[in-house]
């Protein structure tokens, strides 16, 4: 059995550092900014660039067929780790090796509120790397899945006219239209009303089957237990625990006092 385990993602002593401009002191005045720039020394901190060490030396190996949950309190580095695995955030030190191109589930950033839902479906699909033909094939499926047109012809209206629930549904539907090798899902994707939540959970399960490896970030312990067979617990950017879901969840619940 051990021979059958093919690694798909390897993180090797991964460090991620964000640099924030002009956040060193509370003083935001122009003179403070000037004195910071004029301060000699090549040291970043001396020039008002503050470093945030978001992920500190995380190592793990993920295998084909695994569904891995990422847990930890807010700001513990879960989303940052996902983005680093996807190759979207450059590592400060260490490396991530992957099989194929891992993708984050989500296209929010590519969509424009001033455009119609229709054009956003096309734009979002193209942004995810789908071809025009693929989008044309899936278009009706995406619209039907989102249920945007259930209450009239909303897909031809600009997205800014949608309720927040409707917009979230459309965004999820676009994002979930593509198949992925290594799929990463950030929490709270399945929004919307009860009926839509059920539909999107089913869709995530479907995507999971097609994908080689799945990462799921969530604060919902139940959905982690339902979907994942292995859990990585991050705290303050460090990997605190890595193991089978039940074992880690028990410790985590003890830690969070639940």
């Amino acid at each position: 059995m051990a021979e059958a385990r093919v690694p798909t993602v390897i993180a090797d002593e991964l460090h991620i550092v964000y640099r924030v401009n002009g956040a060193r002191t509370g003083k935001g005045s122009a003179t403070a900014a000037l004195s910071r720039i004029l301060k000699r020394g090549s040291d970043d901190t001396a020039r008002g660039v503050r470093k945030v060490h978001a992920v500190k030396g995380v190592s793990f190996v993920a295998y084909r067929g695994e569904a891995i949950g990422l847990i930890g309190s807010n700001g513990s580095g879960k989303s940052t780790l996902l983005r680093a695995i996807a190759g979207l955030l450059p590592a400060e030190r260490g490396k991530v090796y992957t099989d194929g191109q891992p993708s984050l589930l989500g296209v929010n950033a590519a969509l424009m509120n001033d455009l119609t839902g229709e054009r956003n479906v096309i734009l979002g699909g193209l942004a995810m790397g789908m071809s025009r033909e693929q989008i044309r094939e899936r278009y009706q499926e995406i619209v039907d899945f989102s249920g945007i047109n259930e209450k009239g012809d909303f897909i031809t209206l600009p997205m800014r006219t949608y309720s927040s629930g409707m917009a979230a549904r459309l965004r999820f539907s676009i994002a979930a239209a593509k198949d992925h090798d290594v799929l990463m899902i950030d929490e709270a994707l399945a929004t919307g009303d009860r009926a839509f939540q059920k539909r999107s959970e089913a869709r995530i399960r479907e995507l999971r089957k097609q994908a080689g490896t799945v990462f799921l970030v969530s604060h919902n312990n139940k959905s982690i237990r339902d979907t994942c067979d292995r859990v990585l617990w991050l705290e303050r950017g460090e990997l605190r625990m890595d193991g089978p879901t039940e074992e880690v969840m028990k410790e985590y619940e003890k830690f969070t006092g639940k």
Partner: protein, 309 residues
């Protein structure tokens, strides 16, 4: 997969497996994994970019449409904005100042409007380029695509904007007695060359702006200085007639002046080749090629770092 033997410890390599004791790099090599987020080679990068051409075009069109989507007149503003711009220049220079800078009004007004529109094309491409990465970090951190898609897409948006302005420009030219003739066909190669130049410049500034967002504050002043030095509102050789010749040569060979002059030459009846510097097409092509290729390579060199912000 429940049969896999997890031991609950942090150290993954503790697990019994034939791969035990291998370093991460060896393990990656064994199973053919590649480094995530590594920069592809230049040829591969161009291939990826070509694969995203539909996205680049759709993104530029979406940005263009989104600009006026809340206005009642909607997309009519694409033409109305340059038209109003031209009217303001006509009002001030044509009617109030009655300026002709030694060319006659029927030449000077189209001369001025052409200059403004052509320079605005370069100016807005640079300004959009500065913010192409720094203003779209959310997108860069969420989705995979060759990052050069962004500056290219923004210059493409400015090109489409200019095409709307050209409608107004044609109207102005005809209104001042320059009727369509064969030389108007030269507009196409001029636009192509200027677009290549602008895109290269946008890519250079996209990389600079991703590291130093402050450029967005600084660039308007640089661009305005460049505009005044390029003879948008006056003819360089006429204005600098009593200065040493090399000053006028240098100013005339600057790319913005070159593209403006070529466009005027193509469009305006009384603006003959005597107004153009020697070897003007070679210089125009040279600027376009050098800046486009140089800008592209310069941008690509930092490809893997754009997500950092």
């Amino acid at each position: 997969m429940s049969e896999t033997t997890h031991d609950g410890g942090v150290a993954v390599s503790d697990r019994p497996s034939p791969d035990d004791g291998m370093t991460a790099a060896e393990l990656a090599a064994k199973y053919g994994l590649s480094v995530s987020g590594a920069r592809p080679g230049l040829v591969e990068y161009v291939r990826q970019l070509w694969g995203r051409r539909h996205f680049i075009l759709a993104f530029s069109q979406a940005k263009l449409t989104a600009q006026y989507s809340k206005a009642k007149l909607g997309q009519l503003w694409q033409v109305a904005t340059p038209l109003l711009n031209a009217l303001v220049y006509f009002l001030i220079f044509g009617l109030i100042l009655n300026a002709d800078r030694g060319m006659g009004r029927e030449i000077y007004i189209p001369f001025l409007v052409t200059g403004v529109f052509v320079f605005t094309f370069t100016q807005s491409s640079v300004m959009a380029g500065v913010r192409a990465i720094s203003g779209n970090l959310g997108l860069v951190r969420a989705l995979h695509f060759p990052r050069a898609s962004l500056p290219i897409s923004f210059s493409l948006q400015q090109l489409q904007q200019l095409l709307f302005s050209m409608i107004v420009l044609f109207a102005v030219a005809i209104g001042f007695g320059s009727y369509p003739r064969l030389s108007w066909l030269l507009i196409v190669p001029v636009l192509v060359l200027q677009f290549c130049f602008n895109t290269g410049l946008a890519m250079i500034f996209a990389r600079l702006g991703s590291k130093t967002p402050d450029l967005a504050q600084l660039m308007p002043f640089v661009m305005r200085t460049w505009m005044y030095a390029s003879g948008v509102m006056f003819s360089i050789p006429v204005m600098l007639a009593d200065h040493p010749g090399w000053i006028s040569d240098v100013l005339q060979w600057n790319p913005a002046a070159i593209y403006m002059d070529l466009m005027r030459f193509a469009l305006i009846d009384g603006y003959g080749s005597a107004n153009l510097p020697p070897h003007v097409w070679a210089v125009a092509g040279g600027w376009a090629a050098v800046v486009a290729v140089g800008g592209f390579v310069y941008f690509w060199k930092a490809e893997e770092r754009y997500g950092r912000g």
